[in-house]
């Protein structure tokens, strides 16, 4: 079986969970004898080609004189919007982006419809321009390769998937890693992104959300026919545990939040829970690792609550620093307001750190050895953290059994389900 897969990023060049998930999935599929052509906007040449044949969209010429391409382009013109859409904002780029005003797509028509296009493959100010160009590339690629099914990851690639489907008549599977509702929250939804998401799912033969939570959103907010929406939970790639030596510099127990400091991740609930715990027990330190548009507001709140001597901000962590942070942590908390899946708690558990997660996360649907609370239930969250810090038998059980549980969440299993779903759409 051959799959034409459209993604936005591929390791090692990733900024968010999307790339990690796409990679894990392709590796899982290879184990089930599925061949994958993986298209990314920009390939750097050092991607892992064992799992998939990586196709660099930047190398694909678009025949702009082709009638089909022209027609397709004209139907896409609703994409002409400003550029303040940041789906998976890289914290490093965060500040620059805020200052930059994008140009209208119309003005860039000559670029988009050019013979070749140099994608950045990031989530920059010209994102919409890149998305439009990517769709045209999708159409061109579809004609060059031979495959049985098309699989597109998230809205950025949906247009490409739809174009490929229209040109080849092959079934389209769209994967929903995160919806616009998760990223922006109710009332702040970007209608252009919403339209793109809905268009992709409407055109698709099958929609795969990463959790039942996301499945509900897809059905209730986007009005997608439930019979073609089938959940496949994400999994986690096993890693060689790096031999890190970290010396604890504080004698207090450490409770950690790790994620973007944005509405979606619910960092403010973590701050309030910290306050509740510190009122009872001074021997705890709280660490907030991450960056984002709520940073300043959170710092002010911590000061206002007078807990700054026990509450620490580290800024954005990556790579080895993340592993080190886990080694120093006694409890990890993910209070997300809306988390389609949520990979970080699995990484924490893999490092023997017990976790408290919000019930509004997809990962809560698959985990047993985690304490689950509603994100708004600050009392419940504080109590769960306190329990893990004070009752040793509980944290011991979580360390041992949680690790085992995570090790059994393999991409291989998820990929098996997806292969079955491919077979279904192909035979229909």
């Amino acid at each position: 079986m051959k799959v034409l897969m459209f993604g936005w990023e591929f390791p090692p060049h990733i900024t968010g969970g999307l790339g990690t998930a796409s990679y894990g999935l392709t590796k899982g599929l290879v184990k089930h004898d599925v061949d994958i052509i993986f298209v990314v906007p920009k390939a750097y040449g050092d991607e892992d080609q064992r799992a998939a044949r990586i196709v660099n969209a930047s190398d694909i010429p678009v025949n702009y004189k082709s009638k089909e391409i022209q027609e397709f382009y004209h139907r896409m013109t609703y994409l002409e919007v400003g550029s303040s859409i940041m789906p998976y904002v890289d914290p490093i780029e965060f500040e620059n982006l805020h200052q930059e005003e994008g140009k209208l797509l119309k003005e860039k028509e000559h670029l988009v419809l050019g013979e070749k296009y140099d994608f950045s493959g990031k989530y920059g100010a010209n994102l919409m321009e890149e998305v439009a160009r990517y769709a045209l590339v999708g159409a061109s690629i579809a004609k060059q390769f031979d495959f049985d099914v098309i699989h597109a990851h998230d809205w950025l690639t949906y247009s490409a998937g739809v174009a490929a489907k229209e040109l080849t008549g092959k079934p389209l599977v769209v994967h929903m890693h995160a919806t616009e509702y998760d990223r922006s929250g109710e009332g702040r939804v970007n209608s252009n992104v919403f339209d793109l998401e809905k268009m992709g799912m409407d055109q698709a033969d099958l929609v795969i959300p990463v959790s039942n939570l996301t499945r509900n959103t897809v059905i209730s907010k986007y009005g997608i026919d439930p019979s073609k929406v089938k959940t496949v939970h994400n999994a986690i790639e096993p890693v060689e545990q790096a031999d890190l030596e970290v010396k604890r510099s504080v004698k207090e127990k450490v409770v950690t939040f790790l994620g973007r400091l944005t509405f979606q991740k619910g960092p403010e609930y973590f701050v309030e829970a910290a306050k509740k715990i510190l009122e009872k027990d001074k021997n705890v330190r709280f660490v907030m690792a991450g960056n984002g548009d709520m940073m300043n507001q959170l710092i002010r709140r911590v000061a206002e609550l007078k807990i700054a001597d026990r509450f620490h901000f580290t800024g954005f962590l990556k790579g080895e620093d993340v592993d080190k942070m886990f080694l120093l942590s006694d409890v990890f908390v993910m209070p997300s307001v809306s988390e389609p899946f949520g990979l970080v708690p699995l990484e924490a558990m893999r490092s023997n750190v017990p976790v408290v997660i919000s019930k509004q996360s997809g990962v809560a649907e698959v985990l047993k050895h985690a304490l689950k609370v509603d994100f708004w239930d600050v009392d419940g969250m504080a109590d769960a953290i306190y329990g893990l810090l004070h009752y040793e038998s509980l944290s011991n059980m979580f360390k041992v059994e949680g690790k085992e549980e995570v090790e059994n969440l393999k991409w291989e299993h998820a990929a098996e389900k997806i292969k079955e779903l491919y077979q279904e759409v192909i035979s229909n």
Binding site: E279, K372, D383, Y386, G387, Y391, S393, L394, M397, F398
Partner: protein, 488 residues
């Protein structure tokens, strides 16, 4: 003739409310009053009241030919008093027929038989007197929480003076032996054991309404045939089950009440069996052999062991921390403290923390108020931590000690002066020597003389032997005063 022995278990724990760690030290009220009340009321309506009426009708109809036995935990009785006195009344009516035997168990439906002999004894005695007080009969047969039994538990029960005990006819203990005989303890030969026939009991208790069961629907005729298949020379078929089976586990719509209304009549008419209570069987039948049970068994799950309550790290930590308080609790006379101490010992709290079903993805949701064993554990430990604080506050001498000689205490022991000779003797017989010394140091010469008059030789010697009590708190004196008031 073969006998049939019905025994029904009645128990309701006090469920704990959502208790956060920041409640510790401030909030000493642990009950989920709403939940407890609504469950007890619901089960009363659906099960206890209709089934009691049904049994009462059967006894009226068949007279001495129909008998049953009950064990009702102290915690359940307390809740009936609190929420559904009509249930208590209806049990009293059953008791008044004389055809119903009431068994003894631990007051709190606790697991203390596996932990502390002294506390075990105390709770059994407490339960015995509660049953006597309510139903006018002293229990002579013992059943342990969840039918937990081992040679060791059996010894303790025998030492408490019981000569009959109920337990599970666990396959792994019986081997080829039949549960339908009377057995006895290997050392305490006088302790006779009645073993549950788990197949016939569970056919009613667990399988009755299960449509996937090949024998569904279970009719009284079919069940009678099964009973009759029991070998003619066997002694007794012990049908032990939770009383909530009727109307709660098996809904009224399943026909369970009709089944139970008709079955006894059919059995009596058939004439091959007679209904007996455990005490009657123990008196009339002779044990056929000894039964060795080196490790505790129970009537729970396939394993028939105690792993539903103890064994995972959380259960063991909670259990050990709870019973670490036993010694200190002996010195605490506070009524609410003692009540909480019992409520916290209920086996149910440990059952909620069980992870063995959780791992299989199977959920034992029935009557379990928690979404997972972890929440159950945290909530229980929060409450237990608060309880610990209270125990320590009451036992550690946190207040400034008051010196004997200073005599500045504002405690008035003038009641002593008004006591009659009989009251005085009773008080002296029961009061702790140390408390007596405190009292003597704080009363007038006149009262002291009165005390000494009734002291008696033994107490006199004990007082003389008492090491000098250097100091004690006002709180302790208050407690002693309360004790004295009880004898007035």
């Amino acid at each position: 003739m073969r006998s049939i022995c019905f025994y029904f278990q009645v128990h309701q724990p006090y469920r704990i409310k959502d208790y956060r760690f920041f409640n510790m030290g401030n909030d000493h009220y642990y009950d989920d009053e709403y939940l407890n009340k609504s469950i007890v009321e619901r089960v009363a309506q659906k099960s206890y009241l209709p089934m009691n009426n049904l049994l009462l009708d059967l006894i009226t109809k068949h007279g001495k030919d129909f008998k049953v036995s009950f064990s009702i935990t102290g915690l359940a009785l307390d809740q009936f008093e609190q929420y559904t006195p009509e249930v208590l009344e209806s049990f009293k009516k059953l008791a008044a027929t004389g055809q119903v035997e009431f068994l003894a168990e631990t007051y709190a439906h606790s697991l203390v038989s596996l932990k502390d002999d002294g506390e075990f004894k105390r709770q059994v005695e407490m339960h015995k007197s509660k049953i006597k007080e309510l139903f006018g009969v002293e229990p002579v047969t013992f059943r342990n929480t969840e039918l937990i039994y081992s040679d060791d538990v059996g010894s303790k029960v025998a030492e408490l003076g019981f000569d009959t005990m109920l337990t599970e006819g666990a396959k792994h203990v019986l081997g080829w032996k039949s549960p339908n005989y009377l057995y006895n303890h290997p050392e305490h030969k006088n302790l006779k054991l009645l073993l549950k026939n788990f197949r016939l009991s569970d056919d009613v208790a667990f399988r009755f309404s299960s449509q996937s069961w090949s024998e569904w629907p279970l009719t009284t005729d079919k069940y009678l045939q099964w009973l009759k298949q029991v070998e003619k020379d066997e002694q007794v078929v012990n049908l032990f089950m939770d009383y909530e089976t009727f109307g709660e586990h098996q809904w009224a719509e399943s026909g369970i009440f009709e089944f139970m209304r008709i079955l006894p009549t059919k059995i009596i008419e058939d004439g091959e069996f007679e209904f007996k209570t455990p005490a009657e069987i123990a008196k009339e039948a002779k044990p056929v052999s000894e039964l060795h049970v080196p490790y505790p068994i129970s009537w729970a799950d396939e394993e028939r062991d105690v792993t539903a309550w103890l064994g995972n790290e959380m259960q063991d930590e909670a259990f050990d921390k709870l019973y670490a308080l036993t010694e200190k609790m002996k010195g605490i006379n506070d009524e609410k403290m003692q009540a909480d101490w019992l409520k916290l010992q209920a086996s149910d709290h440990f059952y909620y923390m069980c992870t063995k079903w959780f791992a299989d993805g199977d959920v034992h949701e029935y009557f379990n108020p928690y979404p997972s064993p972890y929440e159950a554990f945290i909530n229980y430990m929060n409450v237990l931590s608060d309880f610990q604080i209270r125990v320590n506050d009451m036992t550690e001498n946190t207040e400034t000690p008051v010196q004997f000689e200073e005599g500045k205490l504002n405690i008035d022991f003038s009641e002593l002066q008004k006591m009659t000779a009989a009251q005085m003797k009773k008080l002296i017989a029961q009061i702790d020597v140390e408390d007596l010394a405190k009292v003597k140091a704080n009363v007038s010469t006149e009262v002291n003389e009165k005390i000494e008059k009734y002291l008696g030789k033994r107490k006199e010697k004990a007082l003389a032997d008492l090491e000098e009590v250097k100091s004690f708190s006002k709180e302790q004196l208050d407690k002693t005063k309360k004790l004295i008031q009880r004898f007035l």
